[in-house]
Symmetry: C2
């Protein structure tokens, strides 16, 4: 079971614990990932309800690691620190970096005998604007900056997903961000609105047709005026009703429309907020990031790079800022 | 059961048959409503599946009327003419009026021995734009114009609802319209998205607080830039998370935001399309129309009037255009 090379002594146990999944990383020197485990035991699907559920999920995924290395420090990021989580780590305010995350972390003593140090989320709260929040993305940002120090001075990081986040970096700190409910809106429209009724999943060999439908939706978004959203999405029904688009391409059209709206707004905001947005980095799952990259390309915006999952490295940086890694752990073993 | 004054001989049986309801009207001279019945047997909740369901719902609601007046002409409008309806009445194109609806109606022979003449919907299909459709609203428009002949030259009619419709009238005809999925989006967001989780229904005595939250959402919509929709709706979560708005006011905020987006877009389009939009009329259920009227007022736009339900009068005009009323029916009795 424990197949870790003896030369790579673990120095940190890091948890990326979200709403729908729990991932555990065993990290060695310089944040190297030695082992990764993943379960679906996120906040919404704990093995038993309440605090015992967190204990059990933690023991299930990392119990043997803790038995082998009982002195291992443990850190966690993501929704685990929300009010619905194991212990609330209240939001820190912008500008934020890994130092302010560490300064406002909370400790949760676990039944396994170790404390789990939980990172807070970040709150953006500017006069005259509705507040905005991130929780989990700040850890990924920390990892992305550690892996790409050249981006620290000025950058825009886009994390597509259920709730996409556009994060502005200035001098190594998160200075501004905007949330877009793109992924969730797509999902509820397809599953629960009249728009889903004409849509079929029929997988076709015509990737080109899907891309064309996606680009057609994207173009509609680029042509939009303020307030047009709830009008424009109706087209993903009428294009089907009038047989302009076959039913299996309506989802691609809607996806292009939704991502297009996000990009139109996000690009305008990121250039407004920082005058120049700096290099643009995509962070997230590969297929989704590729889809976003093609949308950016269609809008004439260059993407500087795509990072798959900087969370383990971010948790490593968080632990370092907490002072948990000061003493090399192999001395203790 | 039949409490109709003998002086008011029925001349038309009119059905307003939608997705979620069926309303039947017995109309006398000049379209006067003699009797109204309503059931929830819309297309989505027929008593039995398929064609037999339409027959049974029709017999249930109007069987005794037909027994008393077997020669009564029968007309129907709404989703009953859609592809999911009793018999499809394909869309007619803009510009459309009650004459073109009559010219493209379809006849459905019923088991009750009478034909039901079903009105088509209307299709807007302009070069370079996604198509748009209405079905049922064209009947209400016909009624509104019959009741307000002064509006025929130039007017904007707004029909708020699950799918709000903004309809431009020029010289008595529907020349342009736009659909907004405002009501349906509100419903799916509250029921099926994360935004609903913090919302409570607690009815408070503070109608003033609810109106203030609605206006706050409306103001955010007025401040929006293209593409901002999926970002701005997230505020109906973060305002709750940060306790800026109590949970029972979050729905009012979201409602103001959604209606505000519709108004910002609709007002821009209606002035673009016809240079001047003409008098603006609201058509629909009273409470909802009052809410829209207050939103228009906050934007400095005067509402010329509110019409509750011009569908029976519209169906009367449709029957007249069909030639069904040429011979006064009391001669036949």
């Amino acid at each position: 079971m424990n197949d870790i090379n003896k030369q790579h002594t673990p120095e940190l146990l890091a948890l990326d614990w979200g709403t729908s999944s729990l991932r555990a990383f065993l990290l060695g020197g310089d944040g190297q990932v030695l082992q990764t485990r993943s379960t679906s035991q996120g906040l919404q699907s704990l093995p038993v309800p309440g605090a015992a559920g967190f204990e059990k999920a933690f023991a299930d995924i990392a119990g043997d690691w803790l038995a082998n290395w009982p002195q291992l420090p443990v850190v966690a990021g993501g929704m685990i620190g929300s009010i619905q989580g194991w212990k609330e780590a209240p939001y820190v305010r912008c500008p934020a970096d890994v130092g302010s995350l560490a300064a406002h972390s909370v400790r949760m003593p676990s039944g396994a005998g170790v404390d789990v140090v939980i990172a807070p989320g970040v709150l953006l709260d500017e006069v005259g604007m509705a507040p905005d929040v991130i929780r989990g993305e700040e850890i990924q940002i920390a990892g992305a900056l550690a892996e790409n120090p050249a981006l620290a001075e000025r950058a825009t990081m886009v994390l597509p997903g259920t709730h996409s986040k556009w994060v502005q970096i200035r001098n190594g700190r998160i200075t501004h961000f905007s949330s877009y409910m793109t992924g969730e809106i797509f999902s509820v429209l397809v599953k629960h609105s009249i728009l889903g009724r004409l849509m079929t999943d029929e997988t076709s060999a015509e990737a080109g047709a899907e891309k064309a439908a996606f680009m057609q939706g994207l173009q509609a978004a680029r042509d939009s005026q303020p307030g047009d959203f709830t009008h424009q999405i109706f087209a993903s029904r009428t294009l089907g009703l009038t047989e302009r688009l076959p039913s299996h391409l309506l989802k691609s059209y809607l996806s292009g429309l939704l991502i297009g709206h996000e990009l139109v707004s996000g690009l305008a905001k990121s250039s407004t907020v920082l005058q120049a947005q700096g290099p643009l980095l995509l962070i997230g799952e590969g297929t989704l990031c590729q889809r976003y990259a093609s949308a950016f390309a269609a809008m004439g915006v260059a993407v500087a790079g795509i990072l798959d999952n900087p969370a383990p490295r971010g948790l490593w940086e968080f632990a370092k800022a907490l002072g948990l890694l000061k003493k090399p752990m192999h001395i203790l073993n």
